[in-house]
Amino acid sequence: MRSARHLAWAVLLLLGCANPDLGRRYRAERDLLNADLRYHALSGTPRRPDDARWRGLAAEYAAIAARSMPDADTAPDPGSGLWEQLQQIAARALFTSAQIHAALQDSVRVDQIFQQMATAFAGLPEIAGEVSLSRGRIAEGRGDLREAIEHYESIVRDFRPNPGEPGIGGAVLPLPLRIAQLRARLALAADDSSHYAAARTYYRRLATDMASPRLAAEATALLADIASELGHWAEAARVLQRLERQLKGLRPRTRDPGEARFAAVEARLHLHASQDSMRADIDRLVNDYPRHQLAPRALLALANELAARGRSDGALQVLDRLLQEYRTSSVVPDALLAKAQLLEQEGRWKEAVGAYRTLRSGHPVSLAALRCHLDIADHYLREGNDYARMEALEQAQRAYRDFLVRYPENPYTYRAWEFLIRTLTLQQRHGEAVDEMLRLSERVAGSSKEPQLLMDAARTAATQLGDTSRAIAILQQTAQRLPQTRIGTWSTHEIDRLRGGSTP
C-alpha cells in the first residue's frame, strides 16, 4: 500500500513537469478561433454591421494578444517552442486588430498597433517582416509612397525570396518591382527605365540561380513584366521565350509555359513585325499548343492586329480559321463580332448580318451579342438610313429588356442595362432613360457606379428633359443616399444652383 502511494506521488511529480504556457497557448488558440468565427459572421452579414461592433471585435483581438504574450519576466523555454507559438498567436491577433482598424480608416490606431508590434516582436524577424509589409501596404494606400518604399526596401534587404511559401518569404520577390513602380510614380516618370535598374539587377541575379529553378523562373517572369511595362517589347519577347524554356523544365510547374509563349507572341505583335512573321509566330504557337486555351486568343489577337493594319482579308482568314478549329472556345463570340465588324467595313453587309445573326442565336449570353445590336444601329446611322436605324434601335431596346428579364443575375446584366440606357438615349426617350438610370443605381447601391449613375440621371433630367424639379429630386435623393461623400456634397450645391436657375 505504501509503495503504491509512493508510486502515485512519483507519477504525479513526473506529470507535473508540464509548462504552464501550454494552457495559455490552448486558451489563446480557442479565443482566436472564436474571434475569427465572429469576424466571418460580421463580414458575411448582408447589411454592414455598425462600426461599434467592429471596434469591439478589434478590441477583443487586442485583448487576446495581450493575454497571449508571454510574461516579460518568464524565461523562454526554447526547447518547447511554446514561446514562439504564443508570439505567433499574439502577432496574428494584433494583425487582425490592425486590419479592422484600417478598414474603419482609423490610421492612428493602426500605427499604434504596428509600433507595438515592431517593439514586441523585434526578436522575431518573420513577424517584424510581416509588420513592415503591412505598414508598407497601408502607407501606399494612404498615398505616402516614400514610407511605403522604405518598408519594402527593408524587407528586400533582410529576407531571401521564397516564392510560393507562406509567410514573409513568399511576399519578397515582387517587392523590388513595386519599389521601382513607386519611385517612378514619385518622380512622375512612369517611362523612365532608370527607376527600374535596381529591380532589374536584383531579378537578373536570381534568374540565373540554378540552385532554385522555381525562384529563377519567377524572377524571369518579373523581368518580363518590367520590360513590358517600359514598352521594351523586343526584350520582353526574349525574356518570355527564356521563361517558357525554364517553365517547361520545372517540376511541379508553377506557371503555364503556354501563357509565357502567348505573352512573347503578344510582345512581338507590338514590334510591328511584318504580317508574314506575325502569322508565322501565331502558327508556331498554335501548332505547339493546339489544345491550349490561349491558342484561339492568339488567333484573335492576330486578327485584330491585321485588321488594325488594314489587312482585312488576312484578318478574316484568321477569324475563319479560329471559328473552324475552336468552335467551343470562349472567344468565339468576340471572333464573330470582329468578323461582322470587318465585313461591315468591307461593305459586305449581308454577310455581316449573317455573322451578327449567328452571334445572337449561338451566343446570346455574351458581351459581344449585347453589343452587336448597337453596331447594327451604327451601320444604318453611317448609311444615313434613319428609318432602319430607328427600327434597329427599337429591336435593340426590346432585346436588352428581354435579356434583363431572362437573366436578372447574370455577370452581363449590368452591361445589358447600360446598353439599354444608351439605346433609350439614342432614341431620345430621355424620360425612360432617366428611370432606368435610377433603377440601375438602386441595383448597384454601395458600389462605385452608383454616384455616376445618379449624376447622369440628374444631368439628363435637367438638360435633355428640361425638368428642373425632377433633377432636384434626383439630387436630393443622391445627397440622402451618399451623405458624407464628395458626390453627396456636390449634389447639395447643385440643388442650390438649380433653384437659382443654372443647370448641373
Binding site: L15, G16, L22, R25
Partner: protein, 273 residues
C-alpha cells in the same frame, strides 16, 4: 437459427434484473466507475486551466499526442482520449466494480455467500483483474485487425468504429460469465475463461443478445461523437455532453449486462438458495 427462444431467455434475465434494480447497492460500483470516468473527462476537457495544466497537460499529450494540446484538435481528439483513458481505468478500477456488482447481483438473486467455493478475496481480486486485462488486450488486438482501414478516409473512420464495436461484442460474449465462474464457483483464471467460453458457446444466441442490447444503448452516443467531430470547434460543449452521456449510458449497460449474465449463469449452474 431460432432466435425466439434465446430472446425469451434473455427477456427473462432482464426481467430478473428489473425486479432487483431498485436496490441502490447494485448500482453503486458502476456509478463509482462512471464518476471516475467523468472525472477523467473533466480533467481532459479542462486540462488547460492554470491549476491543472501541469498535471493534466502531459496526460493529454500521452493520450492524444502533441496535436491534442491545440484547439480545436483537442476537442476532436477528446472521444479517442477518453476511450484510451477508460481502457486504463478498466484495467485499474472497473474490475473491482465488476466483481462487486456480480456478487451483489448474486446476493440479490438469492445466492448465499456460504454456498460455493469462495477463495480468499485477494485471490479473486488478482484473478478478476487478470481476466479484465485479458479482455481488454483481446479487444485491442481484435480491434486492430477488424478496424484496419486507410488512414484519414471518412469511410475508414466508420469502419474503425464498427470494427472496435465488433471486437468488443466478441470479447464480451466470450468472457460474459468469467467473473461469475471466478467469484461464485471459485474457479481458477483458466477454468473461469474456459467455463465462460463453454457456457457462451452453448447459449450463443442468448449471450449475444445479452451483450449486444446493452452495447446498443451506448451506440447512439458513439455515433453522435463521430458525427459531431466537424463541429468540434464551434460546439465543444456538445461534444463533451455527448461523451458524458456515453459514460452514463455505459454505467447502465454495465449493470444490465452483469445482472443478466449473472442471472443466466445462476440458472444454468442451478445455484439457488
Amino acid at each position: 437459427m431460432d432466435w425466439f427462444r434465446p430472446l425469451g431467455i434473455a427477456g427473462l434475465a432482464w426481467r430478473s434484473v428489473a425486479t432487483v434494480a431498485d436496490r441502490r447497492s447494485l448500482w453503486t460500483p458502476a456509478l463509482i466507475v462512471a464518476a471516475s470516468q467523468l472525472l477523467v473527462l473533466l480533467v481532459l476537457l479542462f486540462f488547460h486551466l492554470p491549476g491543472l495544466v501541469r498535471v493534466a497537460g502531459p496526460l493529454v499529450q500521452l493520450l492524444g499526442g502533441e496535436s491534442a494540446t491545440h484547439y480545436p484538435a483537442h476537442i476532436e481528439a477528446l472521444p479517442g482520449m477518453l476511450d484510451r483513458a477508460c481502457l486504463a481505468l478498466e484495467v485499474l478500477l472497473a474490475w473491482v466494480a465488476l466483481g462487486a456488482t456480480t456478487l451483489r447481483f448474486a446476493g440479490a438473486y438469492g445466492v448465499s455467500q456460504d454456498e460455493g467455493e469462495w477463495a480468499g478475496a485477494r485471490h479473486d481480486a488478482v484473478a478478476l483483474a487478470a481476466i479484465v486485462a485479458l479482455g481488454v488486450a483481446a479487444r485491442l488486438g481484435l480491434s486492430a485487425v477488424l478496424a484496419a482501414s486507410p488512414v484519414g478516409s471518412k469511410l475508414g473512420t466508420w469502419a474503425g468504429l464498427a470494427g472496435r464495436m465488433c471486437a468488443g461484442l466478441l470479447v464480451q460474449t466470450a468472457l460474459a460469465y468469467a467473473a461469475a465462474f471466478l467469484l461464485l464457483r471459485g474457479a481458477s483464471i483458466r477454468d473461469a475463461v474456459a467455463g465462460s467460453l463453454r457456457l457462451a458457446r452453448r447459449n450463443l444466441a442468448t449471450t449475444l443478445i445479452l451483450v449486444a442490447v446493452p452495447a446498443a444503448l451506448v451506440l447512439p452516443s458513439l455515433i453522435a461523437a463521430q458525427l459531431l467531430r466537424p463541429f468540434a470547434a464551434t460546439h465543444p460543449g456538445l461534444v463533451a455532453g455527448v461523451l458524458a452521456m456515453r459514460v452514463g449510458l455505459g454505467a447502465l449497460a454495465t449493470v444490465l449486462l452483469v445482472g443478466s449474465a449473472t442471472r443466466l449463469f445462476l440458472s444454468k449452474s442451478r445455484m439457488r438458495r
